[in-house]
């Protein structure tokens, strides 16, 4: 298993947002998380790379507890430096891109690897290859503000890939885009899935989920209400709430 989460809990100021989430993502597969707004999808995703610290439960990525190390008979919180090393293996793509606005497309991609100690020339070559892969080789010197939303998100995906992650997290990567720009980002993600990348994707693009996902997980009120192959979840779900949601979004 690439991701194995059991009983993950998280509260914000007494409000319980995750109420024991169990979810696993096998290596080389794509899991899409769907569910109503506010059901805790983003919070869960952010727990997977420890941007949020869960209050309870365990999250293993590739067998290692994220944010903790085994110490004697317990788990001890990691130092920032060691947490950073774990995060090198987990790429994250945000709804609102969060590119570094003062750096060019190329410099955005190079920043992570160079920060992790790779030689700049090597990182630059690899960044150029990644820009090519997301179809933006000719925009290497553009600043984020000079790129369309779809182009920015493709640079953001390349930036995450530059760390050579074994897991990619996507939090509604197309929700902030104009409709005509959604396709180019989904194309890049489709490509990545076909390449065998393990992906955990929060999305409202059910057509994409049906086509690419190996498994769909339906979140409701801080829990996984049901999960299964797209064919079943999208056409014949067990729960009326899932059915409701799917018919509303489709």
């Amino acid at each position: 298993m690439m991701v194995q989460a059991t009983g993950v809990r998280k509260s914000f100021a007494g409000h319980e947002v995750l109420r024991g989430v169990d979810l696993s993502v096998p290596r080389g597969t794509v899991t899409c998380v769907i569910g109503p707004s506010g059901s805790g999808k983003s919070t869960f995703l952010r727990c997977v790379n420890h941007l949020e610290r869960p209050d309870g439960g365990r999250i293993l990525v590739d067998g290692s507890p994220i944010g903790y190390e085994v110490h004697g008979h317990g788990l001890r919180e990691l130092r920032h430096r060691d947490l950073a090393r774990q995060r090198h293996q987990i790429g994250m793509v945000f709804q609102r891109f969060h590119l570094f606005p003062h750096l060019t497309a190329l410099a955005n991609i190079v920043e992570g690897p160079v920060g992790a100690g790779r030689p700049r020339t090597e990182a630059t070559d690899e960044a150029m290859a990644l820009l090519d892969r997301v179809g933006l080789a000719d925009r290497r010197d553009a600043y984020p503000a000079q790129l369309s939303g779809g182009q920015q998100q493709r640079v953001a995906i390349a930036r995450a890939l530059a760390m050579r992650p074994k897991l990619m997290l996507f939090d509604e990567p197309t929700s902030a885009l104009d409709p005509e720009l959604v396709g180019e980002v989904l194309d890049v993600m489709r490509d990545l899935a076909a390449d065998g990348m393990t992906m955990l994707v929060v999305t409202h693009e059910l057509a994409f989920a049906r086509e690419v996902a190996d498994e769909i997980v339906f979140f409701d009120d801080g829990r996984v209400l049901e999960s299964g192959p797209p064919a079943r979840i999208l056409t014949a779900p067990d729960h009326p709430r899932t059915r409701d949601f799917v018919t509303r979004v489709l």
Partner: protein
């Protein structure tokens, strides 16, 4: 309707204002030229004199050094203020409270008279032998006293400016850097501070210009910066007004240069912003 040409509206107010300004300016110019007590020949004689230039240099040194101390300490204080360590936050708060809450002139005098408070300087920590034992006057010279007074005070103001600059950067930037696994130091240096600069530079520019003129307070410590240098001269020659004009000309000249520098820095850090 489409064929009608667009006519420019007349603005009589502008013409009236221009006329008034021209009249006042010519009156001022006339008095500058005809009033012999301005002593322009004296101004000319002293403007590039060795004493005045040495004072100017001292002022520039003080300004630069005090701003460097202020910035270094200010970044530290701002980070402490923003950290989740309660002790660090409290220390930073207390520092800013103390140095912003008392007049700079008082602080300068304190540093100037430090030897009255601590005749010798040494550090006594519990369970350890005392470190150092030197006369305060040999460590805290007039220059150090001036520098400490200006720099430590400035740090309190710059800390607040830098804190506001860092807080103005979108949280998503820190999150993106965290998710990439960048170290805290690199996130600050490469991601947060460059973006905070756009907010930080205009007020820091103002602070620098203000510091240039504030250094004149140091004349109370008898440190020979620009103002004290001309004071020494007119105490001897009684040409008070011409020599104050000499100092003013230099303050204006340097301020103008600083303004130009600030403009270029702002342009540099606006890189990547939407035009």
């Amino acid at each position: 309707m489409e064929e009608l040409p667009i006519l420019r509206r007349r603005r009589p107010g502008r013409w009236v204002l221009t006329l008034v300004v021209l009249l006042l300016a010519s009156a001022l110019a006339r008095s500058l030229v005809t009033n012999p007590r301005f002593g322009w020949d004296t101004v000319g004689a002293w403007l590039f004199s060795r004493t005045v230039l040495r004072g100017l240099l001292a002022t520039l040194e003080l300004t630069a050094a005090a701003m460097v101390i202020g910035l270094a300490l200010g970044v530290g204080l701002a980070l402490m203020r923003l950290s989740d360590n309660t002790v660090a936050r409290a220390v930073s708060w207390a520092y800013i409270w103390l140095f912003r809450g008392t007049p700079l002139l008082v602080q300068l005098l304190f540093w100037g008279f430090i030897s009255a408070l601590y005749p010798t300087l040494s550090l006594h920590l519990p369970f350890l032998p005392a470190i150092g034992d030197v006369p305060a006057n040999s460590v805290v010279t007039t220059f150090t006293a001036a520098l400490l007074g200006l720099g430590l005070n400035e740090a309190a103001y710059l800390a607040e400016i830098i804190r506001a600059g860092i807080a103005s950067v979108d949280d998503g930037q820190t999150e993106a850097a965290e998710a990439l696994g960048l170290s805290r130091a690199r996130t600050l240096r490469r991601i947060i501070l460059p973006q905070a600069m756009r907010v930080i530079i205009p007020p820091v520019g103002n602070e620098t210009i203000s510091m240039l003129k504030t250094t004149s307070l140091v004349s109370v410590l008898a440190y020979a910066e620009l103002l004290y240098s001309v004071q020494i001269v007119y105490a001897r020659t009684y040409q008070t007004i011409p020599l104050l004009i000499v100092a003013s000309i230099w303050y204006l000249a340097v301020t103008t240069l600083l303004n130009i520098g600030q403009h270029h820095l702002e342009r540099h850090f606006a890189k990547g912003s939407r035009r």
